[in-house]
Symmetry: C2
DNA sequence: CACAAAAGAGAGCACTGCTCTTGCGCGGGC
DNA sequence: GCCCGCGCAAGAGCAGTGCTCTCTTTTGTG
């Protein structure tokens, strides 16, 4: 073995990466449904059947791209995360990073948060990568609730069991009310981003950046990340 | 002319409807990307090229299905709308109707609110049908703000121009703060529905109905539809 | 009744994902 | 250092797709 696991394995890794790169290029250019194994192979100067040695099916290639997309998004969000800023500002920054990433990578965003490619169900492999943004938001909320808990209204009785279950799963150190609001805010964040990205805001919202910043600010308040008067 | 516009036109309408019905069946069964013109034609006992006399392309068929889906969703939402109930309850009912329709028609929901079918951009034809749910929500908010306006916090200065523009466009009789919150709530509603439908809540939210009712209740409060203590 | 317009049939093109068989060449055990 | 075997690529081929073109049949109407 020359280097770790020999030269053959290295070549394999390189070819695999080249395939993913070219696939990502096509994905960004035309979207997931138009991603064609044959076109990728053609562009790489190989014959289509050779590509199946690296990805047993188109879905497997897509899965690899999905994981990469989750990671890329998670990285952007984490990079936007200045741990020294107050929680409210950090929340806004992370949300804006998510929006920015989505606008920069619309087809990749559609791949992971739009309708799943029909006939395709993401394997559990994607779970850890998918959780990164959520964990980041939870972390911010945790910091915000370090000190004495700000007064929060009571919760409806019928929600309490589910809220406590979610809190136990996601953040046992946070009050169930906060965890509930956090999960809702998480989903709603993607509603805002998706509507903008998929054209639902056309002819409705013009100054989308301002609108977005305001809306995610409200989400933060809903999750108990207090701030000055709106 | 035997009947209005002749029998030929009637036959055309019937065949068009039959094509859409079969297409909708395939859509519901397998999703948009697997919808095949040839399969539809086969099922209908016609040859594929004949189908192009009715829909010039696959995208045109999809557009027809999209409009129908918007209308079906709008109808469900309007049917759930008991005009005599107080606004807050009406809001909840409409939101639950949207969620229910989405769970009943996942692929159609994905078609209209998921990632747009790549390479496809919806023509303006779809706009009126798409607006139905939004108009319904605006109407509810209007009723809620009939009486003396409940106290609402001030709005950030940078949002004011956009808020006033949106209000002028969508509901000149409503305060800009409310219109802004309404638009945000509208987008966030679909974030909640989409996350549940597309599996993002798997292993996170269990009692989704309760969670949803609570979350849209918060949205309503954000839009100034006051109600009892949460 | 005749004729033109509308609809259907069928072949064909270029493309897709995927499989199978064949042959080449390089890596690694001897 | 040699040579074998395995990893890999190549190519043909299958079944399917959207869409176009031409030709024939049907049918409503002047």
């Amino acid at each position: 073995m020359s280097t770790a696991q020999g030269a053959r394995a290295r070549a394999r890794i390189e070819v695999t990466a080249a395939i993913k790169d070219e696939a990502r290029r096509q994905l960004a250019a035309q979207g997931a449904a138009r991603l064609s194994l044959r076109a990728v192979a053609r562009e790489l100067g190989m014959v289509s059947s050779a590509l199946y040695r690296y990805f047993p099916s188109r879905d497997d290639l897509l899965t690899a791209l999905i994981i990469d997309a989750y990671d890329s998004l998670g990285e952007s969000a984490e990079a936007a995360h200045d741990a020294s800023a107050p929680p409210f500002e950090r929340w806004i920054s992370v949300c804006e990073a998510v929006r920015g990433w989505a606008l920069d990578h619309p087809h990749e965003y559609a791949l992971i948060y739009g309708s799943p490619v029909p006939g395709y169900t993401a394997p559990d492999t994607t779970v850890p990568a998918a959780a990164r943004v959520g964990l980041l938001l939870i972390g911010i909320a945790r910091d915000a609730h370090q000190g004495p808990a700000p007064g929060r209204p009571a919760m409806a009785d019928d929600l309490r069991p589910e809220a406590e279950r979610m809190a136990a799963d996601l953040a046992p150190d946070l009050p169930p009310e906060v965890v509930t609001a956090l999960v809702a805010a998480w989903a709603q964040l993607y509603g805002l981003v998706g509507f903008e990205l998929f054209g639902q805001f056309n002819r409705v919202v013009e100054d989308r950046e301002t609108f977005f910043r305001h809306a995610v600010g409200q989400l933060a308040r809903g999750a108990g990340l207090a701030s000055g008067p709106r």
